[in-house]
């Protein structure tokens, strides 16, 4: 070993940097560590009040967090083997449309997902149907389709673990994901 970097000043810098960064709310779409069961599943439309505010400077306008805060959720849920938007889903997507009008530079990807109770390839197609249901609704609200793309993950990326109906219901979903610019 020829050279030992001084550790303390570096650590101090990191601490200063951390102190200067506004504390962000946890990113809900990030998966928990491999061994942990998720304590905080992806938000459902009813879990958060629609007017969550953690301080004017804490959320970047046009970000995923901003969409969640303004619309209450970035996710809509579906019935078993269904790609129909119910009233609650349409209400949420109506808010997504309003948010997209307020953030005209933002493009989003509609992610379609399924529960595990279908065959793999069928679920890829079903996820595509769900993503397009959400996309078509946003388009019907006047959002330019050039701002909307879709992707299906089938049953490959459940929001929550578990094999009961409660978990399955959380996993049958379309998520409006802000595309990084």
């Amino acid at each position: 070993m020829t050279r030992q970097l001084p550790k303390l000043p570096l650590l101090a810098l990191v601490l200063i940097a951390a102190a200067c960064t506004p504390k962000k709310p946890p990113a809900m779409m990030e998966a928990p560590p491999a061994t942990a069961r998720p304590e905080a599943p992806a938000p459902t439309p009813t879990e958060r009040p629609a007017t969550v505010e953690t301080g004017p400077s804490s959320i970047i306008p046009g970000s995923q967090d901003d969409l969640r805060a303004q619309a209450g959720s970035d996710t809509v849920l579906f019935g078993y083997d269904s790609y129909e938007l119910d009233g609650e889903a349409r209400a949420t997507l109506t808010k997504h449309a309003a948010w997209l009008r307020a953030n005209p530079a933002v493009r989003v990807t509609l992610e379609g997902h399924c529960d595990e109770r279908g065959t793999r390839e069928y679920n890829l197609a079903l996820g595509d149907r769900r993503a397009n249901s959400a996309k078509n609704f946003l388009a019907s609200q006047g959002i330019d389709v050039s701002r909307l793309s879709t992707i299906s993950y089938g049953k490959e990326r459940p929001a929550v673990e578990g094999s009961d109906e409660a978990a399955h219901a959380q996993n049958r979903r379309a998520v409006t994901m802000v595309m990084s610019r």
Binding site: A31, P32, P33, A34, T35, A36, P38, D81, Y83, T109, E116, R117, G118, T119, R120, E121, Y122, L124, A125, L126, D128, R129, A131, N132, S133, N136, I151, S152, Y153, E156, R157, P158, A159, V160, E161, S163
Partner: protein, 439 residues
């Protein structure tokens, strides 16, 4: 590594006439596995090879052969500790039949492993009917030293085919998706192994989500689906070089790829605007034709072995059911009318059955039906049994079985519904595909 396996007949032996030839009936309902002795193959000479001494290879070859035969559920290899005679090179040609009769062996597989001057080996395989005291089969396999395992599988295939009347399936491989990590963030990698689990290796790094691999008929290429660059679509993987190539340039997600029997075309699904149809893609010319249309989900296509027809699933009638069409998309016709849903159909390489996934009553199982939809039988029943794939001889079905905890593994079952068994994999596993017999 590519192996060249030369198959040669040994010195001609007269076929002995037998009034009642030794036979395993693979269609029998509750059959007893045939007791069979597979002593270590004798060293043909004292030489050593880069894969080990001929003595060591002879021991290992016998273990591979016994393992293959046991896995079929049709044979019961007798514990070598019970053997009352040892097998030297002279005993290979003149077995001590009375000694094998005393341990109730009905058949005997024996042979030699000889090191060749070029560094390769010759594995000589002999099979006998112990009670008749007669030879059933013999064949020599000349290969590289590293190819000893494949030569042993070929020997097991020879024994299997002579005693069952069916072609063998042991000299074959399995490609599948290896899984690890939390269910919400599963890491999936393509992996390949011999059908008995040997020679396991990973083909992809796990960086990209990959699904549903299938062998080309020539087996040097695998088609699969990858989410690389967040663009889910069909890819080709070349085994020798490790080259990966996206198939075509399509606007929608392409998935559920399979090769045509001549290897020149792929069929797969493409989803456009929420509608999924089946397309045929010529690999050389890139010519693409749409085979299905209409608003339903049409997916999981699978060619008949003669290439004339394609079986697929569609929810056009309200729920997933199995349909058959001509290879050009004409003549589409529903064939499944059983309870629940019928999905992911796969045509047997023999042409006589279509395997499928049955969903109903909160359970998933694997079933088979005739190509006209008749004779439906369910072979398995689990929380999540899906994704059937046929052995090269069309007698065994591989599938993935998942449980409520999210764990998943590979299983196989005989088309009789018997011999359901787990296929060991290093990690969790899904989406198995069995290769044709190796060339």
């Amino acid at each position: 590594m590519r192996l060249i396996l030369l198959v040669t007949g040994l010195a001609a032996a007269p076929v002995l006439a037998q009034s009642a030839p030794l036979r395993v009936d693979i269609n029998a309902g509750l059959m007893q596995p045939m007791p069979i002795a597979v002593p270590s193959f004798a060293p043909g000479n004292g030489a050593s090879t880069e894969a080990g001494t001929t003595t060591a290879l002879g021991e290992r070859a016998a273990q591979v052969i016994a393992g293959d035969l046991r896995s079929s559920g049709l044979f019961k290899p007798i514990d070598p500790a019970a053997y009352t005679t040892s097998v030297g090179i002279d005993d290979v040609l003149k077995p001590d039949f009375p000694a094998w009769r005393t341990i109730a062996a009905q058949a005997l597989v024996t042979g030699t492993v000889t090191a060749n001057p070029d560094g390769g080996i010759t594995l000589a395989c002999y099979a006998y009917d112990v009670f008749a005291g007669a030879e059933i089969a013999r064949q020599g396999f000349v290969t590289t030293a590293a190819g000893w395992r494949r030569a042993a599988h070929k020997c097991a295939d020879l024994v299997y085919s002579r005693l069952t009347g069916e072609s063998g399936y042991f000299d074959s491989r399995i490609v599948y998706v290896s899984e690890t990590g939390a269910r919400t963030r599963r890491i999936k990698r393509l992996a390949i192994m011999d059908q008995d689990g040997a020679g396991h290796r990973f083909l992809t790094s796990g960086q990209n989500l990959v699904l549903t691999p299938r062998f080309a008929p020539g087996q040097q290429t695998i088609t699969y689906m990858s989410f690389e660059n967040n663009r889910p679509r069909v890819w080709l993987y070349t085994l020798g070089s490790g080259r990966q190539e996206a198939v075509g340039a399509f606007t929608g997600m392409t998935f559920a790829p399979r090769f045509s029997p001549d290897g020149q075309n792929l069929v797969f699904s493409m989803a456009v605007g929420g509608n999924t149809d089946i397309y045929r893609f010529n690999i050389a010319t890139r010519a693409t034709s749409r085979l299905t249309s209409g608003p339903g989900i049409d997916t999981s296509p699978s060619y008949s072995p003669d290439g004339a027809k394609i079986v697929f699933e569609s929810d056009r009638g309200g729920s997933q059911q199995v349909y058959v069409m001509n290879a050009d998309g004409t003549g589409q016709q529903r064939i499944s009318f059983g309870e629940g849903r019928s999905a992911s159909p796969v045509w047997s390489p023999r042409g006589d059955y279509i395997a499928f996934t049955r969903i109903g009553g909160g359970r998933f199982g694997i079933g088979v039906m005739r190509p006209d939809g008749s004779g439906e039988r369910l072979l398995t029943n689990g929380y999540q049994d899906e994704g059937p794939s046929w052995s090269p001889n069309g007698r065994v079905i591989l599938f993935a079985r998942g449980d409520r905890s999210g764990q998943s593994g590979l299983w196989s079952v005989d088309i009789s519904g018997l011999n359901e068994r787990r296929i060991a994999t290093p990690l969790d596993a899904s989406d198995p595909a069995w290769s044709p017999l190796l060339p």
